[in-house]
C-alpha cells in the first residue's frame, strides 16, 4: 500500500477537485449559521458529550439492555466480533432466505466491514439508494466524505457517469439527474427482499433504532423489503429517547446546518399483527471490529463520535487533499484517530502525524472530542522509525534546553555561524531542511540573541 504522503502527492499531481474545498466550506458555513441561530447549541453540545460519556462508561450494561429490548420487540440481535463475522451473518441470512437483491441506506459501518463486496460475492445484487452513495457505487469508487460521499464529483461528471452506466441521455441538471436515479431505484426498492441500514443511534431502553436521511430512502429500505437488517457500531447507543432527542438536536446542525434532517425514522421492530406495513424480520448486527480495544485505550474518547462529518468540513488538511487520500473508510480528523485505533497504529502512523493541530475540528465537534489531544496521544504511542529519527533530534534539543548555559552558548554560536551562512537575514539552502526550503525561505538567526541583548542592556 502507498503511504499517506505518496497518496497526497498523487492527489496534488492529479489536481484535487475544487468541489471538495467548496463543498466542505459550504457545509462548514451552514453549520456556523445553524449554530448562530440556535441559542441552545453550546449547552446542547455539553449535554450531548455527557450523554456519550455516560453510555461509553457503562457500555456493557446498555448493550445488554438494548439487545434484550430488540428481542422483546420481536427482533434478532447478532454480536459480530469483527467484519468477517458481521458479513457472514448477513450473507448467511440472505442465502437462507433466498434473497437475490438488497437495497441499502447509506451507512459508514457497512462501508467499514465491506458488506457490499461480501453480498455481491454471494450473488446478492446490492444497491445503494442514497443518491451520493448510488453515484459512488456506479462509478466503482469509495465515498470521500462521511455524509457527502460524492463531494469529489461535480454534476458534469455525474451526468457523464449516468449516460455511460445507465444508458440515458446526458444531462447535468441536478433535478433531472435526481429523476433518473429515482426511476432506476424505484423498481429496486419494490423488488428487493432485504433492506440494509446502519443506525445513527440505538435506543437502549426500548430497543428502537434511529435513522436520519434527507432523501426518504431510509423509509423505503426499512419498510418495503420483507427483511430489514440494521448494522450498528457497538458504541452507537443512547439510554432513551430523551437522550436521543438531544443527539438529534446537534447531529443535523453539525452535519449540514439543518435543524433536523428531512426524515427521522424510529424503527422499533418487525411488523406486528394488525400493522399494514413493515418487514417480517428485523435483525440488528452489532459490530465490534476493534471498538472494544479502542474503548480500553488512551483514545477511547473517539468513540463519542456520532459521524456528523463537521470535523472534515472544518479541517484545512481535508479541504486540501480530499477524502480518498486518507486511504481508509474514515477520512478527516476523526479518521486520523479512528483508523489507526481500529486497524493498527504501525500501519497507519502517518495519519495522526499529518496534522498541524490547529484545533478547527474540536471547535465544531458536536460532542467536543479533543481530537488534537488524541492525535498527540497516538504520536506518543507510535514507535515508527520515522518518529525515531525525530525523537533523536528532539532529544538533543531537550538536552540542550534543559542546560541553560549550554543553550545560551549554542544559540550564541548559531547567531555567529548564521552571519556567515546567511544573506540579508535569510538562510541559504540547507540540505537537511530541504522539506522546508523547497517552497519557503528560512529566516537566519539574528546576529545577537535576545539573551545577549538583555544582558548588555542591564550592564
Amino acid at each position: 500500500m502507498t503511504t499517506f504522503r505518496e497518496r497526497i502527492q498523487d492527489a496534488f499531481a492529479e489536481g484535487v477537485p475544487i468541489a471538495i474545498d467548496r463543498g466542505a466550506r459550504g457545509h462548514y458555513e451552514h453549520r456556523a449559521e445553524a449554530a448562530a441561530v440556535f441559542p441552545q447549541m453550546e449547552p446542547m453540545r455539553d449535554r450531548a458529550r455527557q450523554i456519550r460519556a455516560e453510555v461509553l462508561a457503562n457500555l456493557d450494561v446498555h448493550l445488554r439492555q438494548f439487545a434484550d429490548s430488540v428481542e422483546r420487540n420481536g427482533g434478532v440481535v447478532f454480536f459480530a466480533a469483527d467484519a468477517a463475522e458481521a458479513c457472514d451473518y448477513i450473507v448467511g441470512l440472505a442465502r437462507r432466505e433466498g434473497i437475490t437483491r438488497a437495497v441499502k441506506v447509506k451507512s459508514m459501518v457497512t462501508e467499514e466491514i465491506h458488506l457490499n463486496a461480501a453480498l455481491e460475492d454471494a450473488g446478492v445484487e446490492t444497491v445503494e439508494t442514497d443518491l451520493g452513495e448510488f453515484i459512488v457505487q456506479l462509478a466503482g469508487e469509495t465515498p470521500s466524505h462521511i455524509i457527502a460521499p460524492v463531494l469529489h464529483k461535480n454534476r458534469q461528471q455525474i451526468g457523464e457517469l449516468f449516460a455511460e452506466r445507465l444508458g440515458v441521455d446526458y444531462t447535468d441538471d441536478p433535478g433531472e439527474l435526481n429523476e433518473i436515479a429515482r426511476d432506476y431505484l424505484r423498481e429496486r426498492f419494490l423488488t428487493a427482499g432485504m433492506g440494509i441500514s446502519g443506525a445513527n443511534f440505538g435506543v437502549a431502553d426500548d430497543g428502537s433504532i434511529a435513522l436520519v436521511t434527507n432523501e426518504g430512502n431510509g423509509r423505503l429500505c426499512t419498510t418495503a423489503p420483507r427483511i430489514h437488517v440494521a448494522v450498528m457500531g457497538m458504541e452507537r447507543l443512547v439510554r432513551d429517547r430523551r437522550d436521543l432527542a438531544v443527539m438529534l438536536e446537534v447531529l443535523a446542525r453539525s452535519a449540514t446546518g439543518q435543524g433536523l434532517s428531512s426524515y427521522t425514522n424510529i424503527v422499533s421492530g418487525p411488523r406486528r399483527i394488525g400493522e399494514p406495513d413493515g418487514p417480517d424480520q428485523f435483525h440488528v448486527v452489532i459490530v465490534d471490529n476493534g471498538r472494544s480495544a479502542t474503548l480500553g485505550s488512551r483514545v477511547a474518547e473517539i468513540l463519542y463520535c456520532i459521524r456528523c462529518g463537521a470535523c472534515l468540513n472544518a479541517c484545512p488538511v481535508y479541504r486540501h487533499v480530499g477524502g480518498h487520500a486518507y486511504g481508509s473508510v474514515y477520512p478527516g480528523p476523526i479518521g486520523k484517530v479512528l483508523t489507526p485505533s481500529l486497524y493498527g497504529l504501525e500501519q497507519w502512523h502517518e495519519l495522526p502525524a499529518t496534522s498541524s493541530l490547529c484545533g478547527a475540528c474540536q471547535e465544531v465537534c458536536p460532542v467536543r472530542i479533543d481530537i488534537p489531544k488524541l492525535l498527540v496521544e497516538l504520536r506518543n504511542e507510535s514507535t515508527h522509525e520515522l518518529s525515531a529519527g525525530l525523537r533523536r533530534g528532539l532529544a538533543i534539543y531537550a538536552g540542550v534546553t534543559t542546560h541553560p548555559r549550554v543553550f545560551r552558548l549554542l544559540t550564541r554560536t548559531a547567531a555567529l555561524v548564521a552571519g556567515v551562512w546567511s544573506r540579508d537575514g535569510w538562510m541559504r539552502r540547507i540540505p537537511v531542511l530541504r522539506n522546508w526550503t523547497r517552497d519557503r525561505e528560512l529566516p537566519a538567526p539574528a546576529p545577537e540573541t535576545f539573551h545577549d541583548w538583555w544582558r548588555k542592556r542591564g550592564a
Binding site: P316, E381, T402, D439
Partner: protein, 241 residues
C-alpha cells in the same frame, strides 16, 4: 507592576527585535520587566510531536525557572502561552511537586495582547505609518486562549489602517514539525493563506506568533512578494517605521 518576560526560543534566536519591542511596550504600560535568564524552550515542539518524555524534561526546566519568580508571566506568543497554560499542567500532573508548580505558573501566564487589553486595559500611543495591515489569527492562541479581538482592538486603537482577512482563523499550515514531515499539505495550506492575504489588499500581515509569521513570511519571500510580516509587538511599540 513587576512582570516576567518569557520570550520563547524562536524570538530569542530568530526574532530578538520582537522581544525588544515587547519590553518597550510593557515598560510603556508601566511594567517593570524582568527576564529570568535560565529560560530556554517551553517544550511545545516535543509535546506536539508526541515526545512526552522530552517535553516533560523541558517543562520541568521551564517550571523551575518561572516558579521561582513573581508576578504575571507575559509571553509574546499564543502557542507558547497555551503550552504553559494548558499542556504543562497535563504533562507533569502526575508529580505532586511539579504539578503544583505547573498550576501556579499556568495561573500567572498571559499572552501579550490579552495581558495588555484584559489585565492592564492599556492603550499604546498612536502609531503613525502609511501601511495597511491585516490580522492572521494563530490557531493555538485563538482556540486555546480566545485571542481574537484583543490584537485587532489594539491595532485599531493605535490608528493602524486595518483590513479584514478572509479565512483569518484558518491555519497557515505551519504546525511545527508538520511543516517538515508533511511539506506538500503544509505548503498547500500556506498558499491558500497567501492568496487570502493578497486578496485582502494589505501590505503587512500582523500576528501574535512569530512561528506562523515565519512560515507565511518564508512563503511570501520565496514568491518575491512585497507583503511584509510583523509581530504585533513591533507595530504597537512603534518600531515598524
Amino acid at each position: 507592576m513587576r512582570v516576567q518576560l518569557f520570550v520563547t526560543c524562536l524570538v530569542n534566536s530568530l526574532y530578538p527585535d520582537v522581544g525588544k519591542a515587547t519590553v518597550k511596550l510593557l515598560e510603556q504600560a508601566g511594567c517593570r520587566v524582568e527576564f529570568p535568564l535560565d529560560q530556554t524552550c517551553c517544550g511545545q515542539p516535543a509535546y506536539n510531536g508526541g515526545f512526552r518524555k522530552e517535553a516533560r524534561a523541558q517543562t520541568r526546566q521551564t517550571l523551575d525557572v518561572l516558579d521561582a519568580t513573581d508576578g504575571p508571566i507575559v509571553v509574546p506568543s499564543g502557542s507558547c502561552a497555551a503550552m504553559l497554560i494548558h499542556h504543562s499542567p497535563e504533562l507533569v500532573g502526575d508529580d505532586a511537586d511539579y504539578g503544583a508548580k505547573a498550576t501556579r505558573v499556568a495561573e500567572r501566564t498571559r499572552e501579550l495582547t490579552s495581558f495588555l487589553v484584559e489585565d492592564l486595559g492599556f492603550t499604546p500611543a498612536d502609531v503613525a505609518g502609511g501601511h495597511t495591515a491585516t490580522y492572521h489569527a494563530s490557531c493555538h492562541g485563538l482556540r486555546g486562549l480566545g485571542i481574537k479581538q484583543q490584537p485587532k482592538r489594539l491595532l485599531d486603537d493605535v490608528g493602524v489602517t486595518r483590513v479584514e482577512l478572509t479565512g483569518e482563523d484558518e491555519c497557515c499550515g505551519f504546525g511545527g514539525l508538520f511543516s517538515i514531515k508533511s511539506p506538500e499539505v503544509s505548503v498547500a495550506m500556506m498558499e491558500t493563506k497567501i492568496a487570502q492575504i493578497e486578496a485582502s489588499g494589505a501590505d503587512t500581515v500582523v500576528g501574535v506568533d512569530v512561528s506562523c509569521l515565519m512560515h507565511i513570511g518564508g512563503g511570501l519571500k520565496r514568491r518575491g512578494s512585497p507583503i511584509r510580516t510583523r509581530h504585533i509587538a513591533e507595530i504597537l511599540a512603534g518600531d515598524d517605521q
